[in-house]
Symmetry: C2
Subunit: 334 residues, 2 copies
C-alpha cells in the first residue's frame, strides 16, 4: 500500500490538531507527517501515533518532498504558500476560504460531490463548516427532488473562531461564576450567556461573509447555480457543535415520512427525530463525532414544497478536519 508524506499547514491551531487526530483515527497511510506553523511554534512537539513530531517553520521550502498538504491556516497564509506547495508537487487540501469560489478549484464535500476531486489542479478547497453540516443534512433529499432554496438560521459554536474561541467562553463562564473581569478578545462582545448575530464582516447588502457562504459554496458543491439561500449566522455559547435551523424548498413535494427515509439512508447522516420522546440533535450529543445529526423534520406551514429541518454537527471535525481528510483519501484513490 502506498504511503504518503503529509504536511499540515497551521498545525498548532484547533483544526490542525484535529486533522492529526483524524489522520491517526482513520489510519491514513502516512510515511511522514510534517507539522508546519509560524516561527513562534517551531520546535513544539506534537504527539502523533505514539511519537513526538516537531513543528517546523512554514517557509517556501518547507513543502519539498510532500505529497499532500492539509491547510488549516487563515486565508493570507494559504494564499502565501499555495504557489510553493504547487511547486513542490504536493496536492493542497485547503480549509481556508481563499480559493473556494475559484472556478479552477474543486470545492468538495465527499458525501455530495466526490467526483469533483478528479478535476483538481493541485488545489482542492474544503468548504465552510456551517455549509458542510447543512448540506450533508439535506443532501439525501435530492434523490426525490431538486433543492430550490434554503432559509437558514445558525447556532454556531465558539470553536468556529479557532482554538481561542472555547478558551474565551470558558474564561467568561469562570468570571460569571467566580468573579473577575469578562475579557473580550476573540468575539465582538461577551458570548457567555449571550448570542451574537454576527459572524464575519459585512459582505453583501447587509449579509456577512459567513452568511453568504451557504449560498455561494452550496451552489458550487451541489452543482445548483440557481439555488437561492437566505442565511442568518449567530454565535451561541456552545463549545463545539454547530446547529442549523433549515427550511428547504424543493421543486417537487417531499413528504415528512419520505424525507426521514432519505435522510436516514444518506451518507454521513444520522436521523434522530422523535419529538414525542424528546429525541432530536443537540450540540452536546453531537460533539467529537463525524456524523451530521438531523431531526425536527416538519412540513413547512408557509409553502407547499418546504420542509423544516434541524441539524447538528461537530464544527471542528465534519465541519473542517474530517472533511479535509476525506478529501485527501479521495486524492489517494485517484
Amino acid at each position: 500500500m502506498k504511503e504518503y508524506r503529509v504536511g499540515i499547514l497551521g498545525a498548532t491551531g484547533a483544526v490542525g490538531r484535529e486533522m492529526m487526530k483524524v489522520l491517526a483515527e482513520r489510519k491514513f497511510p502516512i510515511s511522514e507527517l510534517r507539522p508546519l506553523a509560524s516561527v513562534r511554534s517551531v520546535g513544539k512537539k506534537i504527539s502523533f501515533e505514539g511519537t513526538e513530531v516537531s513543528v517546523q517553520e512554514a517557509t517556501e521550502n518547507a513543502f519539498d518532498g510532500l505529497d499532500i498538504v492539509l491547510g488549516a491556516a487563515q486565508n493570507a497564509i494559504a494564499k502565501q504558500f499555495a504557489p510553493a506547495i504547487k511547486a513542490a508537487g504536493a496536492v493542497f487540501v485547503d480549509n481556508s476560504s481563499a480559493f473556494r469560489l475559484n472556478p479552477d478549484v474543486p470545492l468538495v464535500v465527499p458525501e455530495i460531490n466526490p467526483e469533483d476531486v478528479a478535476l483538481h489542479h493541485g488545489l482542492i478547497a474544503n468548504p465552510n463548516c456551517t455549509t458542510i453540516i447543512s448540506l450533508v443534512a439535506i443532501n439525501g433529499l435530492r434523490k426525490a427532488s431538486q433543492i430550490e432554496s434554503i432559509i437558514a438560521s445558525s447556532y454556531q459554536a465558539v470553536s468556529g473562531a479557532g482554538a481561542a474561541g472555547p478558551i474565551e467562553l470558558q474564561d467568561q463562564i469562570h468570571a460569571l461564576c467566580c468573579g473577575g473581569p469578562i475579557n473580550i478578545n476573540t468575539f465582538q462582545y461577551q458570548i457567555a450567556c449571550n448570542v451574537i448575530p454576527q459572524i464575519g464582516s459585512e459582505a453583501f447588502e447587509g449579509y456577512t461573509s459567513e452568511e453568504m457562504k451557504l449560498q455561494n459554496e452550496g451552489r458550487k458543491i451541489m452543482h445548483l447555480p440557481e439555488m437561492r439561500v437566505s442565511c442568518t449566522c449567530v454565535r451561541v455559547p456552545v463549545m463545539r457543535s454547530h446547529s442549523v435551523s433549515l427550511l428547504v424548498r424543493t421543486k417537487e413535494k417531499i413528504s415528512v415520512q419520505k424525507a426521514r427515509e432519505l435522510i436516514a439512508s444518506a451518507p454521513g447522516c444520522r436521523l434522530v427525530d422523535d419529538i414525542a420522546n424528546k429525541i432530536y440533535p443537540m450540540p452536546l450529543d453531537t460533539s467529537d463525532q463525524d456524523l451530521v445529526f438531523v431531526g425536527r423534520i416538519r412540513d413547512d406551514l408557509t409553502s407547499d414544497n418546504g420542509l423544516n429541518i434541524w441539524c447538528c454537527g461537530d464544527q471542528v471535525r465534519k465541519g473542517a478536519a474530517t472533511n479535509a481528510i476525506q478529501i485527501a483519501e479521495l486524492v489517494t484513490a485517484l
Copy 2:
C-alpha cells in the same frame, strides 16, 4: 384620579414579581395590591413601593373587592380561578395560554391591537412571549404592506421557564466551572453550553405547542386569519432576553431602507441596525427593558417580497409582565 384594587395571581413567580415591579415603575394607580399564591407562600412578604405586602392564599373568595387581577400562573390555575374572578366583578388579564384562542377573549399587544381590549367580557389574554416580541418587531411594516407569512427560528432565554430557569442555568454554569453534578430539573437536558430544540410538547404534526403560538396567536392579534407561520423554537443558555431570526414575506415589496424607517418609528421598537459598526440587538443589551430591539434587516435572497429581520426583547418584561400592565392600563381607560 381613580385608583384600582389589583390582585396578582401567582405573585411569587418570576412574572408575578416583575408585574409588581412594572406596576410601581409605571405608577399604575393602585389603592390596594393583593399578591395571591398557593398556600405554601402564604405570609411571605413582598416589597411594593416601599411597603411590605403579605402574600395571601389564592382561593375562590380571595378576589372579592378587586377591580383587576393580573394572572401570572399556569394554565390549570388560571382556569380554576377564572370563574371566581369573574364572579368578583374583576377584569382578569391572564398571562397563561389557557384562554388565548377563545373567541370571546381578546388577545392583545397594546402596540398592535389596543382596540380589542374594549371587546372583553371580563377576561383579556396576554400573548406568548416570543409572539409579542416578534410581532412588535414587524408590526411597523404593515403600514407599507400586508404580512403574508413568517419563518421564525428563536433563541429563547431560560427565563421563559419561570424562576427556576435562570437558577438551573446558573447552577449548571457553576458545576461546569467549579465541579459538581449537572442537575437537570427544569429543562429536558443540560442547557449550559448547549441548545435544546424543544420548547413545549408536540402539538401539531411535529411542531411543538410553543412553535404553533406565533401562527395561532399572531393571526388573532394582527387580524390576519390567513397568515402562515413556520416556527422553530430553541432554548439557548441566555438568562432573560429572547432573540428571533425572522423572515417576513409581505404582499408588496418593502425595501430595506423603508423597513428601517417603518420599524424605527413603530411603537415599542428601537432600530439598532448597523452591521458595519457591529450594531445589532443582543440579549445582554436588551434585558431589563421594555422595548423590542430590531436589526440585521436584509432583503430575503430566496423571494421577491421578503425581509430577514433579527429582534431581541426581554421575555419577562415586554414578553409577559409589561405587556399585561399595558393591557391593564387600557382597561382603566375604557
